[in-house]
Amino acid sequence: MNEKHLYTLLRVIYKNANINILIREGLSFSKIAELTNEAIIAEFVIQANDKIELSQKGLEKMQELGVKFKKINKEEWIEKDLKSKIPKLDKNFIYLPDQNKLTF
């Protein structure tokens, strides 16, 4: 188990963050699934029907790895909110809101 990826995975689960952080670390979705399974087998992560969370052991592991990998440079841990980014609009684009959705 790659410790750096494991640390990111545990943080993602702890913070209920977006897993795309792991994609940006170079993992594919299927690799993330493998890593998650390994973390479950190692009892760092508990998965039930409608929740996934860290065990006490996972929490301790995250803190332990945190000493090693915590990013202090804010450029590295503040990420762009790409989900909210929209395609560039043409300068002649006219926005007509849906009349039914206006609140005024």
Binding site: N18, I19, F29, S30, Q47
Partner: protein, 281 residues
């Protein structure tokens, strides 16, 4: 995407043993992209549908094909000396390779594994001209097996039966329909004609057969919203609203198109998990 839907998808893949199918990681990645492009509500519906989705590996396909042949009653087989295989296809599709043709070829490979067929010889015909010609006659101990992997809406099977029965030498009881999977619509139609049909998998409607009001209407609305991501012509809810959830060697167009049709999000194109590839001339 957050961890929970991702973990749910991963659990579905493992539970269904899809992780053992070659190419599973490619399909999994495309599924994740799809979930990532959906709202939470849409994602939940796709996860529920994925949970009841059938993805047949090539191995399972062969296994089920053998099972279908072995499910034919022994007394019927004893009365036969020869079986003529014919692919299910619309007469206008004769020049195109349809799934029935692919299954026909595979049958050659499975014959040694069949039980109760040792006394029977097999033949095949792939042209309507030959089977509808008056020179094609048939005796009591010969059966025509119409072959397909998936019987969706009854359109194709109806066209096949109608055309074959234009040969007055062939009677309905000479016909046997063999398919790995089938929808109710096709089965009802074939049964109404009194023709024998054998299949190993019953394909239900992914939304209509599983929810009742008001969840039914809600999920229909959610799926219509999801389908807005698909550009160009597509078969809403699958060909003739089949609502199928199945991938065999290839995904039939009866399956909900979001599982097989390319879609767009914020101007970016994405491949569907079980893309249906067409040959280009």
């Amino acid at each position: 995407m957050e961890m929970l839907p991702f973990a749910r998808l991963s659990t579905i893949f493992q539970g269904k043993k899809w992780t053992e199918i070659y190419g599973s990681n490619i399909v999994f990645d495309k599924f994740c992209r799809l979930l990532d492009n959906l709202s939470e509500q849409q994602r939940n519906l796709i996860l529920e549908l994925t949970d009841r989705y059938t993805w047949m590996s090539y191995n399972e396909f062969i296994y089920r094909l053998i099972k279908v042949f072995n499910s034919i009653e022994n007394d019927k087989l004893q009365a036969l000396k020869r079986i003529v295989l014919f692919p299910v296809m619309k007469p206008e599709d004769e020049a195109v390779t349809k799934s029935g043709h692919a299954v026909l070829y595979l049958i050659q490979g499975i014959i040694p594994f069949l039980i109760g067929y040792k006394h029977i010889t097999f033949g095949k015909i792939e042209e309507y001209d030959k089977i509808t010609s008056n020179s094609f006659t048939i005796s009591e101990d010969v059966a025509i097996f119409l072959i397909d992997d998936y019987l969706g809406s009854n359109e194709t099977i109806k066209a096949t039966i109608d055309k074959i029965l234009t040969n007055s030498n062939i009677r309905r009881d000479n016909l046997y329909i063999i398919s790995i999977s089938a929808q109710k619509e096709s089965l009802d139609f074939i049964n109404s004609l009194g023709i024998s049909v054998y299949t190993d998998h019953f394909s239900k409607k992914g939304i209509s057969d599983y929810y009742s009001s008001p969840l039914l209407e809600e999920n229909i609305t959610i799926m219509l919203e999801i389908e807005k991501l698909i550009t160009g012509n597509h078969f809403s809810f699958g060909y003739r609203n089949s609502e199928a959830l199945i991938t065999l060697i290839r995904t039939p167009d009866n399956t909900f198109p979001i599982f097989w049709k390319e879609y767009k999000k914020n101007g970016i194109k994405f491949e569907a998990p079980f893309a249906r590839v067409q040959f280009n001339l």
